[in-house]
């Protein structure tokens, strides 16, 4: 077992050199607000880098210049009102510069009025259920079979050979590009959290409570995420896949789904 792991480790090191897995940063995403969030993230990051250069710079200069081995005599000052006022006031100003744009984005994130599509998302241990409010479509979405077969400890399947290991589902959520999609989140058992980084949505699905969030995806594509709130043993195995498609393709998908659902509806 251990030898297998070590070989696996070595293999990984060589394999990874070829792949582009060394992702360092948050994705910019495909919605206006995911781009704004990314912008806020980078703004605060660069402020931190700047402050870090100043503070660590002074500290490093001191570490090299003010050491006993250089024969310096320690100074005796231990107080300076001017300095202390300065390094209280400047951070307040910097914080204000960060707080204003952050608050603006926050206001937009919470404005889920006038949606084009409304979807109720219900968390289950350990899968998602999606229900399109106006289209009368509802289905479960769980971990796709290839990942499911590879995940047990003694599956004998190399997880590196599975496409999108742990990030693929049987029935993805399908939404039209450019439409304002409102998602209403709740849960059937414990707290879950629905997270798709490219859509900049992470909202808890809490039993007994309905939470709201929204997104407008500007690019056609497949976006993946995972449950982000510990929800029991298979918390790591309930991914989310959102397919953003052209409006016509969406309509076609809705029609097929409704036809599939129609006989069921009649028998109920």
């Amino acid at each position: 077992m251990i030898r297998k792991s070590i070989l696996g480790l070595l293999g990984l090191f060589f394999a990874s050199a070829a792949s582009a897995a060394w992702e360092l940063n948050m994705p910019k995403g495909v919605t206006e607000l995911s781009a704004e969030t990314y912008g806020l993230h980078m703004m605060v990051f660069w402020w931190c880098v700047g402050i870090g250069i100043v503070v660590f710079g002074v500290m490093i200069i001191s570490l090299f210049k003010h050491r006993k081995s250089k024969g310096v005599k320690p100074a005796t000052f231990s107080h300076s009102t001017a300095a202390e006022v300065m390094w209280t006031a400047i951070p307040v100003v910097i914080l204000l510069l960060m707080a204003v744009p952050a608050a603006e984005t926050m206001v937009k994130l919470e404005d889920s009025r006038d949606p084009d599509v409304s979807i109720v998302i219900t968390g289950y241990q350990w899968k998602w259920h999606y229900r399109y409010q106006d289209e009368g479509i509802g289905f479960y979405s769980s971990l796709a079979r290839p990942s499911l077969e590879a995940r047990p400890r003694d599956s004998g399947i190399d997880v590196n050979s599975v496409d999108n290991y742990l990030l693929e589902v049987d029935n993805p959520l399908v939404v039209p590009v450019g439409a304002k999609v409102r998602v209403l989140m709740t849960s059937n058992d414990v707290v879950h959290s629905w997270w798709v980084p490219d859509l900049a949505i992470k909202k808890d699905a809490v039993p007994g409570i309905v939470n709201e969030a929204w997104f407008r995806a500007n690019e056609v594509g497949t976006y993946r995420g995972q449950c982000a709130e510990l929800c029991g043993k298979d918390h790591g195995y309930m991914p989310i896949v959102v397919e953003v498609v052209e409006p016509e393709a969406y309509q076609a998908w809705v029609d097929t789904r409704s036809e599939e659902a129609a006989p069921l509806a009649r028998t109920q």
Partner: protein, 532 residues
């Protein structure tokens, strides 16, 4: 000094009792401090072993060693043991040993309660660790114990609740003792604002403990009644609110993080002036900053809950209040840098750990500021970015400060100098590996890896492998520390002052500190004269 004279007259200088009774029935602050510190180190290794299980499983994608349930138990137990068993008792141990010596008191004010507050801890953790062998396994709901998930715990559930109760009891008693000692037993000429920083930060911490531990006890008691007595505090089906638990928990939880860092600030504020041979810059503003942080810690709790679905105004309030904490925290960092500035520094092991503390805690502070920005937090929340953040403030933060304090005061405790070379090896190994472990976690979180998962998509493999290598290196490095402690009495005899730049009453008593010190109150002023 006066101590010797008093001894000669009264003939009541009884030494420690013999055998196990010395430890079981001890009311001596030094013995109890030692027991706290040994207990903390033991828990550090038990919690560390659990971290090794976690990092082994996460080293490469796919499940290799454990089942998901057990993995969740490991993350839960690792956190509970490290928070309540390692970090908090270590600071109480340092407080027991050093507060009476620093303020010139003969002992803690309530010695019997001191004994009791220590001995509750092994019982509490005995109960908690026994859950590993229970049907249904150890708690696996995360240390945050969110309902309804925590109510799915097996037989371990009531044991989890009672062990948390006991930890809370122990902390409250310890905190009461610290407050009573500091308020009533200072040397007569030591006014509040003349107290050393470590004493100040502990005084503030003790108030935080008394304020929030009962809140935690209340929250877990409500879980208990929801499970066994038909209440529905947190059960939606009965009209309760699962989110209310999160509010109550974090009302405890956020001050709790300052409980774990304020004493660390105190330790570092003692050490940097000693090795910079210069007085602490802005002593009073340090006190005000620490008080400010303590106050703000009560009104920022919901920044742990930005994704839970709060009203917009609530989110904005908690975002602004959280950002404000950066101001007093910044003041502290600037004051430490100003203390070093134009000092005459040397770099013994305690100073190295303290300097690494200032560097790496600041990095944890930066990621904390990023997390305060609510829209960005929605992306960071419950990812490895958060794991990186709180490990930066807790490991090279709190734990490094504890290590620094241990090296700093060890000669006073044992009467001998520890092995400086090994200490430095321990420092460099710890610092390199701690960064190797936790820095890549920032990238993992930003790239989209959620926390608390036993297996992950293959794109996260590389940084996880690096983090695991770092974690094993860090774990092994701590064995050097144990070796330093085991050989601590083999070094040369320590002088009373131990360090050239030492300041404060603890350095006026002999090394090792006698079993009883300060039978008559000393003059605090004399001890601080070295800088004046």
């Amino acid at each position: 000094m006066t101590t010797a004279v008093a001894d000669a007259h009264e003939h009541d200088d009884h030494g420690p009792a013999k055998g196990i009774g010395r430890w079981l029935f001890s009311t001596n602050h030094k013995d109890i401090g030692t027991m706290y510190l040994i207990f903390s180190l033991t828990m550090f290794f038990i919690g560390g072993a659990m971290a090794m299980v976690i990092r082994s499983e996460l080293a490469i994608p796919g499940l290799q060693f454990v089942h998901p349930e057990f993995f969740n138990s490991m993350t839960t137990m690792h956190a509970l043991i490290m928070v309540f068993g390692a970090v908090m008792p270590a600071f109480v141990g340092l407080a027991n040993w050093m507060i009476p010596l620093m303020i010139g008191a003969p002992d803690m004010a309530l010695p019997r309660m001191n004994n009791w507050s220590f001995w509750i801890l092994p019982i509490a953790f005995g109960i908690l660790l026994s859950t590993l062998f229970m049907p249904g396994g150890a708690p696996a709901s995360g240390w945050t114990m969110y309902p309804p998930l925590v109510l799915q715990t097996g037989n371990a559930f009531p044991f989890l609740i009672f062990s948390v109760h006991l930890m809370g009891l122990s902390s409250i008693m310890g905190a009461i003792n610290v407050i009573v000692t500091i308020i009533n037993m200072r040397a007569p000429d030591m006014t509040l604002l003349k107290m050393p920083m470590f004493v100040w930060t502990w005084l503030i911490t003790a108030y935080l403990l008394i304020a929030v531990m009962p809140v935690l006890a209340g929250a877990v008691t409500m879980l208990l009644t929801d499970q066994f007595f038909g209440t529905s505090f947190f059960l939606a089906a009965g009209g309760g609110d699962p989110v209310m638990f999160q509010h109550i928990f974090w009302f405890f939880g956020h001050p709790e993080v300052y409980i774990m860092i304020l004493p660390a600030f105190g330790v570092v504020s003692e050490i940097i002036p000693t090795f910079a041979r210069k007085k602490l810059f802005g002593h009073d503003s340090m006190v005000y900053a620490a008080s400010c942080i303590a106050f703000l810690s009560f009104i920022v709790w919901a920044h742990h809950m930005f994704t839970v679905g709060m009203p917009l105004t609530g989110q904005l309030f908690f975002m602004f209040a959280t950002m404000l904490i950066a101001v007093p925290t910044g003041v502290k960092i600037f004051n430490w840098v100003a203390t070093m500035w134009r000092g005459a520094m040397t770099f013994e092991t305690p100073m190295l750990f303290s300097l690494a503390f200032v560097f790496l805690f600041t990095i944890g502070g930066f990621s904390g500021l990023m997390l305060a920005i609510a829209p960005a937090d929605i992306q960071y929340h419950d990812t490895y970015f958060v794991v990186a953040h709180f490990h930066y403030v807790l490991v090279p933060g709190s734990v490094f400060a504890i290590m620094a304090g241990a090296y700093y005061w060890l000669p006073k405790w044992t009467g001998h100098m520890y092995n400086e070379t090994l200490g430095k090896v321990h420092f460099w190994a710890s610092t390199i590996f701690v960064n190797l472990t936790f820095f890549p976690m920032h990238f993992l979180g930003l790239a989209g890896m959620p926390r608390r998962i036993p297996d992950y998509s293959t794109q996260f493999a590389d940084f996880n492998t690096i983090a695991s290598i770092g974690a094993f290196g860090f774990g092994l490095s701590q064995l050097i520390f144990v070796w330093v402690l085991l050989t601590a009495r083999k070094g040369e005899k320590a002088t009373d002052r131990v360090w050239e730049g030492s300041h404060g009453l603890e350095w006026t008593v002999p090394s090792p500190a006698p079993y009883h010190t300060f039978d008559t109150p000393p003059k605090a002023r004399i001890a601080n004269e070295s800088f004046e």
